[in-house]
Symmetry: C2
Subunit: 349 residues, 2 copies
């Protein structure tokens, strides 16, 4: 390992320059603790856990004796827009009918909340080693309080401009999220998907542009991928998709089946499931409606209209209406414990 | 260098596992000879050179005492469609007016021809070390005759399916063209851009899927990029954008200026210039009309309508109507001789 990588792991107190990616909706403490015990940095998706769950799941990680990264979203909360929701439900009407879902049962409300003062107090009591952000950063005062508590603050960049923006605001590391990555694009200075760079182009340009360590994300699926990222100048890698089939993940049956099937060869960025572009395996809803649509309600309120469709379909073992998040290299995902995935990733270090 | 890489360079008789990418319209023998003399594989864009030019430019390379790769296109020639051309010229009408171009001066005709029996005879007399193809392969009998002549046959793959298809047809190497690459996407089994993989995801999956050596293309801009590609299992790399500002390239002034400017940070795939998706720096035409349009005439006939606009604008030093091909990592391109670019790429080998 290079001096940069060694400094990165030493500062965190972890054995390996591998971050288990936080995956909102697909994992909690069990996966994090297993990945952490194997030498990676354990991550929890704070955006998908209320304060009590976050404390409970953090305790699971703490019991493994390893540091934790708590991840949060930093989106702007959109104003309610009943007309847009109504129009979107009309688009989805054939699916409600087919799956026997009563649209009147759809939950209203803002869905996932961005990180703010309330979450801050809860997080500070958990003393995480890292607090990482997607979709930008919270207010400067929050970043400062987190860092004063001893936590590192990281955030995702999908362009060189975003990386510079984060570096100027004092983050401790930048996660360079290449276009190959599964799940939500962390983009926050642009909503133009053509600006999104592949990992191979993004990582070295971000390394050249910022002062802080860079964590490469997107397409890293095995030991060769780890070696390549370090060769490109990354201090570490972040890996998500490779953990999705682990028994410790909470990935649904249809999602696991899709990841293990030839369907995983074709992923695309879609805003259908949440209102923001995220990469997932192309499924029926994406094929039927198109992957990117202007009439989808804004993030995160698009989740509501699809939630009962997703539940009804998944109950029948069908992933047609589910976000089947996956990166462009699902080959690293296997039906093995997370520790085996970590060991495989670390095999050339 | 690994045994795979060493075997690859030894078989070709070149010093370095670096292929100077063939770039139709932006280089000929001068760049190829310079890159070849520095230890890379010299490439000529056969698609942009008639038989006489091809012979002359090949002689330049031969004079440098190095092997040559002749590259050709394998597209299907579209049927003439006057109505579609007329409709497309109507879209472009404001630009004809602005630049003082008389649409009556537009050249008709099929434009660049795919590789066929006629080109075959000319190519065989030139005894290239490699004949490489973009957009698929020519007829099996042509592939066989080329290989019987002693040439290796290579072709580009943009998906794992395409790589398998080429491997099954007996190519000697597969060029894994990641989404980061500048210029035309080599895609030929699909026209769906969402199938296109980033280099980081494509290369290891192609390496795992085919029997033959894999050449990584897309985003490789410096010695770190070369090292990363070899770590991912590639036998060699193909580099294009890094050569575009060399004095030996025929890149236009506006194109060179764009590559050296902040504009190079934003590239996109566009079919406006040729009818097929190709990656270039976003310019006025792409912003005005949108990068991908269904009403563009099919490749290569879209070139005709734009050619006089491009010429008129470039004569004024403006790249608004030009294909400013570039990959997503233009940082490797500098105003230095091609030999310096090759030396930089090879610095960690």
């Amino acid at each position: 390992m290079s001096p940069t990588t060694r400094a990165f792991t030493d500062r965190l107190g972890i054995a390996l320059p591998i971050v288990q990616a936080p995956m909102a909706g697909f994992q909690a403490g069990r996966l994090a603790a297993a990945a952490g015990a194997a030498g990676a940095l354990a991550s929890l998706p704070g955006a998908a856990l209320d304060a009590r769950r976050l404390a409970d799941e953090s305790a699971l990680v703490r019991a493994a004796g390893v540091p934790v990264n708590l991840n949060f979203f930093c989106h702007a909360v959109p104003a309610p827009d009943a007309e847009r929701q109504r129009a979107w439900r009309a688009v989805l009407a054939p699916y409600y009918a087919e799956l026997g879902v009563d649209p009147a049962t759809i939950q209203e409300g803002p869905g996932r909340l961005p990180f703010g003062d309330e979450a801050l107090d809860a997080v500070l009591t958990l003393a995480p080693a890292v607090v990482s952000f997607h979709f930008g950063l919270p207010a400067a005062a929050i970043v400062t309080r987190l860092q004063q508590s001893g936590a590192q603050v990281w955030a995702s960049a999908t362009t060189v401009d975003e990386a510079r923006w984060l570096d100027e605001r004092g983050v401790d590391a930048v996660i360079a999220q290449g276009l190959e990555a599964g799940g939500h694009r962390g983009m926050f200075l642009t909503d133009d998907l053509t600006t999104q760079l592949g990992t191979y182009a993004l990582v070295p340009q971000v390394v050249a542009a910022v002062k802080v360590p860079v964590i490469a994300a997107g397409g890293v699926a095995d030991a060769k991928g780890v070696a390549a990222a370090l060769a490109l100048g990354a201090a570490a890698v972040q890996v998500g998709t490779a953990f999705l089939r682990c028994p410790e993940a909470t990935t649904s049956g249809p999602h696991r089946a899709a990841l293990a099937s030839p369907a995983a060869a074709h992923t695309a960025c879609t805003n259908l499931f949440s209102g923001r572009p995220a990469r997932g395996i192309v499924n029926r809803l994406m094929r039927d409606l198109g992957c990117m649509r202007a009439d989808v309600p804004p993030f995160p309120t698009a989740v509501n209209a699809l939630a009962p469709l997703r539940a009804a379909a998944e109950a029948r073992g069908i992933g047609d209406c589910s976000p089947l998040w996956s990166g462009q290299n699902a080959g690293g995902a296997r039906d093995v414990p997370a520790a085996d995935i970590v060991r495989g990733l670390a095999a050339r270090l």
